[in-house]
């Protein structure tokens, strides 16, 4: 397996509670990896350790290494904004920035050096198409992003995240706030995008995991229980707790 992200000896503490216990995991490149588990097991914490979002909460303490492209992203001389540029985050509740649709997508592009002009316009169009939103907004770029429906907003957040040209896409239950049609839309986008991006998703919907996953990671109470390619995981789970979870008991 071609590994993109290596997580080594990761331990995360929120004040006195240990949220993640000794995680050792390799995440494959250009595949959809799904993190499963009952609520409170640390899925989101694990996800947020990849783009260094944990440090936004006070009282968080992280030990261990997360290695992307050969470098430990928790190294003191790494610029955290570079790390976040590499990994785009799609949150559960879509959060458009207080700007027009165009500016939302262009935000990341402008941050990282693109100037106004035709090339910027082309890129904005390109990423809106990649997110499947282009047709619906092509004649109202300058209207406020706040006016879009929630499904459209989530696709806008996807376009925005793609525009920073990341290598990794992180999704924190990206469809749970959406109606089924919009959810399907996002899922098909992700399925297409995995050809060029390493995607890590957190979900509590087993059926979504079955639909999307190439690789599955199962967590329980902060510990890594089992991880395997999707077929193997769903058809032949090795651990007791995995089986209980798949049968709906925990």
């Amino acid at each position: 397996m071609n590994t993109h992200i290596q997580i080594q000896d990761l331990n995360v503490y929120y004040e006195k509670n240990q949220a993640l216990k000794n995680i050792n995991l390799d995440i494959p490149r250009d595949q959809i990896t799904v993190i499963l588990g009952p609520s409170g097991c640390g899925k989101t914490t694990l996800l947020k350790s990849i783009n260094r979002f944990l440090e936004l909460t006070d009282g968080t303490h992280v030990t261990g290494r997360v290695i992307i492209d050969g470098k430990n992203i928790y190294d003191p001389d790494i610029d955290v904004t570079d790390v976040r540029k590499k990994a785009g985050l799609l949150s559960q509740r879509p959060c458009p920035l207080p700007m027009s649709i165009y500016d939302n997508v262009a935000y990341g592009l402008r941050l990282h050096g693109h100037k106004k002009g035709k090339s910027l316009d082309k890129k904005v169009e390109h990423y809106l198409q990649a997110a499947g939103l282009w047709d619906e907004v092509k004649d109202r770029f300058d209207s406020p992003a706040a006016r879009l429906s929630i499904g459209q907003q989530q696709r806008l957040c996807l376009a925005r995240g793609l525009a920073i040209e990341p290598e990794i896409l992180l999704g924190d239950e990206p469809t749970s706030a959406l109606d089924p049609l919009s959810a399907k839309h996002i899922e098909s986008r992700l399925h297409e995008l995995k050809q060029a991006y390493t995607i890590v998703l957190v979900t509590h919907i087993l059926r979504q995991a079955r639909r999307l996953a190439d690789y599955v990671v199962f967590m329980y109470l902060g510990e890594l229980i089992e991880y395997a390619p999707a077929n193997q995981f769903f058809q032949n789970p090795q651990e007791e707790r995995t089986r209980s979870y798949l049968e709906g008991e925990i």
Partner: protein, 288 residues
């Protein structure tokens, strides 16, 4: 029988208090209207083009001719200059307190100081300003007035701004940070945008307070018949124009006081209502 009287008592009590509540409520509104009517009825007859476009001729206290242009422009320069200086300090400070160091002990200390400054009456700012001016050998002037008004405005503006910034949902800054922006970019491009209506309201609020203040400029800006042409000369202001010209034996001079009162009230009214309208217009892009 007992039940009935208890029932009656309950409701008599209710009516009694309802009466007093409605009365108080109407009293406050009535007084507001009373004040406005007093100011308008005295000021309107005194207003004409000459009043608004000329400076007092023959001295503001004795001269019978001319108008209040000195005070109108003086007030605009004083409050305008102070507001601009105040924005330079308050806006970054509010963004810093509201989003960078929100919940730290240092933020609490700074906020406490701002609250203390907010409560200081303008006469004390005036006395302090006067002391500082003496120390530096400055005379009563436009500059002195602007500096003291800036000190007066900063706590008001900063407090109001910080409140708006703090109310912002965290997800917005997170969304920006997730795209690889650093704190400064997030604060200026996202937080400030979202909070823009509230920030404008804060600015107008502080401006309105400054333009109406007399006690602080009394010591520090002086008064003059002329429109200030240098920041080192004294400047007239509308509140002092009222104060100095009200108690005069000459009715023409008194007219100037009434006109100043009306102009000042109209300015404050416009700001009060205008800021609401402006806030609504500016919230076009804000995420609810």
């Amino acid at each position: 029988m007992k039940k009935k009287s208890l029932f009656q008592r309950k409701h008599i009590e209710e009516c009694f208090y309802m009466f007093w509540m409605s009365f108080s409520f109407l009293l406050l509104i009535g007084i507001l209207i009373f004040i406005l009517i007093t100011v308008i009825s005295k000021g309107l007859p005194a207003l004409d083009i000459a009043m608004l476009t000329q400076t007092p001729k023959g001295g503001f206290y004795l001269g019978k001719e001319g108008g209040i242009l000195n005070a109108i422009l003086g007030s605009l320069y004083l409050a305008g200059g102070a507001t601009i200086l105040s924005i330079i300090i308050s806006l970054p400070l509010a963004l810093y307190l509201g989003s960078y160091i929100q919940n730290t002990k240092w933020a609490d200390v700074v906020r406490l100081s701002l609250d203390v400054l907010w409560g200081i009456p303008s006469i004390v700012y005036g006395a302090f300003g006067f002391t500082i001016m003496l120390f530096f050998g400055l005379r009563a002037s436009l500059l002195g007035g602007i500096i003291v008004l800036t000190l007066l405005e900063i706590p008001i503006m900063c407090r109001a701004m910080e409140e708006v910034v703090r109310l912002m949902p965290e997800e917005l800054s997170h969304a920006s940070l997730a795209l690889g922006a650093n704190r400064m970019e997030t604060a200026t491009k996202v937080v400030a945008r979202q909070a823009l209506p509230g920030l404008m309201t804060a600015i107008l609020l502080a401006f309105g307070r400054a333009i109406g203040d007399a006690a602080s400029v009394l010591f520090t800006a002086g008064f003059s018949d002329q429109i200030p042409n240098s920041i080192f000369r004294p400047a007239a202001s509308l509140p002092l124009a009222i104060f100095f010209q009200l108690g005069t034996p000459f009715p023409e001079v008194q007219e100037r006081a009434y006109a100043s009162a009306l102009v000042l009230t109209v300015i404050v009214l416009t700001i009060s209502f205008g800021s609401r309208w402006l806030a609504q217009r500016l919230s076009r892009f804000s995420i609810k």
